[in-house]
Amino acid sequence: YSFFPGEPRWPERRRNLTYAFEPQNNLAEEVKSVFSRAFVRWAEVIPLTFRRVESFSTSDISIGFYTGEHGDREPFDGFMGTLAHAFSPPTGHFHLDGAENWIVSGEDGDGFLTERAAVDLESVAVHEIGHLLGLGHSSVQDSIMFPTISTGRRKVDLHSDDVEGVQYLYGSNPNFNGSRTPTPATEQRDTGSGNSG
């Protein structure tokens, strides 16, 4: 796991976060529920809560689907390519590329969707929430915070690498007993040399 430079995180006084959706997207309840599930995955392991509200302008986290240039000088590039981006704490901006084919059912069975030209929305949501919380990209391929996701792939369970990273920032959820972690870390890190790359 890694962090953004300076290890930004939500301050102590802002641990009960709210999120809202871009009103102009007119998202169906089924789509919004995908994000709710994604937030729960992180809330299970850290002492933060996430509550959906209607006020897009005052929520801590704002979620929206956009195409092309959308005001942050990070334009989306159309079908495939870049899928989404999110900002480090405490900015709270979470943008997704509206040009993609998004699968919202959350059903797959074996971790792989059949459609090769569609992207699993919950997988991307869980990843971007990691950025909203302060995690950078990880070189652990099975982690949520690995930068790429193949079309048709569904990856929503936090890896121990993700859990360790986010708990470094916020500590552990008192109700978290560690059993949620589905996959063990397969590599040794922190050998003491610090910076690399």
Binding site: S2, F4, E7, E115, A117, A118, V124, R189, G194
Partner: protein, 138 residues
Amino acid sequence: GFYPNASAIPPDLRRNATENAWNAFLNFTGCHAGMKVDGLYKIKQYFQHFGYIPQTLPGNFSDDFDDILKNAVEMYQRNFKLNITGELDELTLQRVVIPRCGVPDVVNGTSTMLNGGRRRTYEVSFSGTSQRFHAVKR
């Protein structure tokens, strides 16, 4: 578009993965330092977007496989745990064209992927009786 599952995507809307704009990068397979290939500037722009080439450099890149690109490729290969060849080999480009998050992997020249986003050292000791591992952040 939003679809409850893959089968719900109308056939006429199914676009296969070859429409990914980055797939054109596969044409650069085998390119290495010293070569000049039409369109190579586009992959330099890709690497700059994700931080592997400094934002301080102007984006009007040449088509030369120069040291800037070689360094970017090596850093990318290191981050993604690929063989560090400095060339646009097949495995590297197969990774490059996969859809991804838009957040850069490298910020201000420091990779955020290989423990580079933080600097930590540990003082390590083992308790003889409990065999428990202790680490102190410095």
